[in-house]
């Protein structure tokens, strides 16, 4: 078969052409292209890794934020509770103080009233005494208008003194 016997000339030229195209492309095309492709792949891998790392960092930061927030919230609640206790304490103290003052005032008032009452009573007694003396003086003046009655009376008085 003529078809199956290779021609030397074509074999020769193919060898030359293939080898030259191989060496030229290796130097000027495949080298740069393959380098660029692998560089891009490592670049993409790096970017993905960086993104992943950032994502993790973000998550961590968020976590920390949340922790901080929770802590702040707790602190706020504690402060509120303390404030309420303080408030109650102050109110209670105020109430107690007020009560003490009013009690004292009441006691004072009662004492004063007692004193006034005593004073008034004394005065009333004095007046009544005076009135009784005046009445007795008038009765006596009328009774002792005569000399006999004056002696009788003096007698009784003397008797009283004797008895004492």
């Amino acid at each position: 078969m003529d078809l199956l016997t290779p021609e030397l000339g074509l074999f020769f030229w193919t060898t030359i052409a293939f080898l030259s195209v191989f060496f030229l492309l290796r130097k000027f095309a495949w080298g740069p292209i393959l380098k660029a492709l692998s560089e891009r792949e490592t670049g993409i891998a790096d970017s993905i890794a960086t993104a992943e790392r950032l994502k993790k960092e973000m998550a961590q930061m968020q976590n920390e934020n949340e922790q901080l927030m929770a802590k702040a919230r707790e602190e706020r609640t504690a402060m509120l509770r303390e404030a309420r206790i303080e408030q109650e304490r102050i109110i209670n103290k105020a109430k107690e103080d007020t009560k003490a003052i009013t009690d004292k005032m009441l006691v004072d008032a009662r004492q004063q009233i007692e004193q006034q009452k005593m004073a008034a009573l004394t005065e009333v007694k004095n007046q009544i005494g005076n009135l009784a003396v005046e009445v007795a003086e008038k009765v006596l003046r009328k009774e002792l208008a005569g000399a006999e009655s004056q002696n009788a009376y003096a007698h009784t008085l003397v008797e009283d003194i004797k008895l004492n």
Binding site: P6, L8, G9, L10, F11, L25, W30, L34, A36, G43
Partner: protein, 366 residues
Amino acid sequence: MVVKRLFSLLVLILTLSVSAISVYAQHGPEGHETTTGHGHEATEEKKGFNASEVIFGHIRDSHYWHLFDINGHPVSLSLPVIIYHPEKGLEMFSASKFHHGHESYNGYYIDHNVKMKEKIASEDGAAIKDFSITKNVVSMFLSVIILLVLMINVAKKYKKNGVMKAPSGFQNALEPVITFIRDEVAKPNLGSKYMAYMPLLLTVFFFIWVNNLLGLLPGGANFTGNIAVTACLAAISFIVMMAKSNKHYWSHLLNPPGVPLGIKFLLVPIEIMSMFIKPMALCIRLFANMLAGHIVILSVISMIFIFAALNQVAGIVFVPFSLAFSVFMFSLELLVAAIQAFIFANLTAVFIGQAIEEPHHGEHAH
């Protein structure tokens, strides 16, 4: 893939049988002319359409680039003929000196007894070597220029745009192919050292693919369907395989472990034979696939003229069928062009991978 191989095998068998018949058919009237050598054979061809003549005219290598015929006169580019004569030395002249094979020049003539080739012979019977820039060589140079221009431009684009920019234009078309060769061909077969073989695999793949496609263009040369070309490519991959083979490969080949001595005497010759059969299979696979594709397309188109020669109406009726089938075959050939390039690159990677494989435990013998 299996279906396609079976199909191309079938096509090859069909076409080879057809060509055998046509060779046999032509041998009869041609036989007595051998003494006169070159010259006049066109006289009896006039009476009908000779399909095998047309087909082999298209698929064989030529010293002209035949474009078309006007009133039976071929219009073609005459290509340079370079001949090495053992006594006269190197000679170079235009193929137009042969006047389409009708005349001899400087003691050389086109031997018409060799049907499937356009062989130049010397009148003094010397064993000359033909280094002519034939149609196939011109087509190959064209493919080399296309490859260099396209690939170097793409490489420049990578340099210009920087690495992290999205590819654009032809770069975008090329990149998936390159990454495909890297990820599907080189990495699985060659292991960690795949990067060293990427330039070879890429060159093999694109060289074959571009030449396959150029061969499909109307008027294109049947470059990859020529056994000299595929033999050259297979030889290159064989040389790379041998040059890179390691001790592990040779020890496995010459002294298979875990095999009884008696079997070794049987196995080692087979292994050595398989070493040479691998590149031969590479060579013949590509050659046969591309040749068969060309022959089928040409045969289908030739059928129009065969039927027309029998009966004009039959010829006209057959036109749509023939065109539909040739369009189908052409689409198939476009696919085959890429697939064969891929298979060649892939098998090259597989063979090199076997030769450079490092020893590791638990390995089965192969």
